[in-house]
């Protein structure tokens, strides 16, 4: 309750909320609901057949599987990067800090073409990887690499400010009370940054699921093997099958929204638990 009181100091709540809802409707809700309306032209049976066709099912497995793997890897390494950037000073730190945002700024297709060039059989890395049996470009691993690339900044940029805000005193107190470094991390630092880490993970995951530009060049796009779901949407559009395309889009929307909701609930639960404790 006290939270509302605090906010009510600011004037114009009604106006601001009204504007927020209008803006969200124009930018997010109306365009997205168009997908649902368009899909409604299909009967349930047609819808079900479209979204569960073998090729489409294979693409869900790849898209959601690779996105999940990429977001998990980013959660781990993103935390590591944020940690290093917050806790240590070293020459070139500013430069590395700026580099983190590059995947945000780079046009995704440029990223895709660059990654493909590097990991192809005659590329900088590909020429060493392929002889030892690791094919990256034009396989599902390539999809994973591209999704990891575009997801990294989300984790770093959400965890970094929280890490910066952690009070040194807490750690010092823990050390005084005889905690090992690992215990301090486990009991003090990690619980504090966990909600931010989850947010970063969720953002990286959501971005990866919808990613098209960077993946399409490195994926190889072999049906049943390395086709991502957004490519199938394009495939439907190439056949002027607008309803089929929106049907698959609706499935992606629902799954993505479900995932984001779960992660948000998880975050809320963690914060809530902490607040009670």
């Amino acid at each position: 309750m006290s939270r509302y009181k605090h906010h009510s100091i600011l004037p114009g709540f009604n106006l601001a909320l009204g504007f927020t809802l209008l803006y969200l409707s124009l930018i997010v809700l109306i365009p997205l609901s168009a997908a649902f309306i368009h899909t409604a032209q299909l009967s349930w049976l047609e819808f079900w057949q479209t979204v569960t066709a073998p090729r489409v099912m294979a693409s869900y497995r790849l898209t959601f599987g690779a996105s999940l793997a990429a977001a998990l890897v980013n959660a781990f390494f993103g935390l590591l990067v944020a940690w290093v950037l917050v806790r240590y000073t070293f020459p070139g730190k500013r430069l590395i800090d700026a580099l983190i945002d590059l995947p945000f700024a780079l046009p995704t297709s440029v990223a895709g073409i660059t990654l493909t060039a590097i990991y192809a059989g005659n590329g900088w890395l590909g020429q060493y990887l392929e002889p030892i049996g690791i094919k990256v470009a034009f396989t599902p691993i390539g999809v994973f690499v591209a999704l990891t690339f575009i997801g990294l900044p989300f984790v770093v940029r959400t965890v970094q400010p929280v890490l910066e805000d952690i009070e040194k005193e807490l750690e010092e107190a823990a050390a005084m009370l005889g905690a090992t470094r690992w215990q301090t991390f486990q009991r003090i630092i990690f619980p504090t940054i966990l909600p931010a880490l989850l947010t970063g993970f969720a953002l990286a995951l959501a971005r990866a699921i919808g990613e098209y530009g960077s993946v399409i060049f490195i994926a190889g796009n072999i049906p049943m093997v390395s086709e991502i779901t957004p490519l199938l949407i394009i495939t439907k559009l190439e056949q002027y099958d607008y309803t089929g395309a929106t049907a698959i889009a609706v499935v992606m929307l629902v799954i993505s929204f479900g995932l984001l909701l779960i992660i948000n609930l998880l975050q809320w639960w963690i914060r809530h638990r902490k607040a009670i404790a």
């Binding site: 090729r55 493909t116 192809a120 060049f217 049906p223 559009l237």
Partner: protein
Amino acid sequence: MKFSAWLSVILFSISLIDINSAWAERAILNISYDPTRELYQQFNRAFTHHWQEKTGEKITIRQSHGGSGKQARTIIDGIPADVATLALAYDIDAIHEHSRLIPADWQQHLPNNSSPYTSTIVLLVRAGNPKKIQDWDDLIKPDIAVMTANPKTSGGARWNYLAAWGFAIKQYGGDESKAREFLTRLYKNTPVLDSGARGSAINFIQRGIGDVLISWENEAFLALQEYGHDQFEIVLPSVSILTEPPVTTIDKNIDKHGTRDIAQAYLEYLYSKQGQEIIARAFYRPSHSEIAKKYAHQFPAINLFTVNEVAGNWQRAQRIHFSDGGIFDQIYIYQ
């Protein structure tokens, strides 16, 4: 002056230029597919010059390039195109079917089924032809990696597919199940299905992937011109498909814009001697007999069949081969 003041001055002058040109000059917009970018840059220059000489009017031609299917969709979705110059008739048929901007018989409005130039599908191999590829049936040998784009997303790749299909149908005396088997083996040899024809050319040429690229003849010539004859060779298969990229005016739009005269003259100029010369130099096969004779050395005679001969028409080809559940899907899904 402050930065913002400078900025507004600059913006204002830009808007003046824009308004001037918009008022003074009529303009048409040509929506085309990817590989014709260089062709239409040349052609537009020639046509604006020609139009000014003929009528005294200065006009502007805007061009937009992308995947053929995607370009057709932007027209359906309302881009104010005056003419469409796409990779296959199926995409222009779709404009009629989904938007009614053009009549159903659009293809009868200009000579040669509204295709001012043609091309064909050839095989591009690495210099010296190390895998000794001579014809389509070499592509299904076990140790050959074939580069072609995904026919589900690329108009060019649909021509590639139908070229191979037509060969197989002829080879096996019309036996469709054998032709299907042939294509299954061919696509088993394809390690990458790029979403567009240019992408698969880049994979073959720059990334060194694959032994043979199935390619439009004009693209193959461009590769030789860019990278040199010591890098690649063109192999002409025993038979191939006659690719007929069609053009049309977008009737409802030109009437609205008042640009019918320009749009029509623009497309007709493609058939003129001057237009055909530019077309031939962009490595497309000219249809004008005189120009064709002049460039005969560049385009060796090859046994060509049409889409209609192997599939009836584009609508049928699309339905049987490329639509969901079609033969191309079956190759991958029901093995």
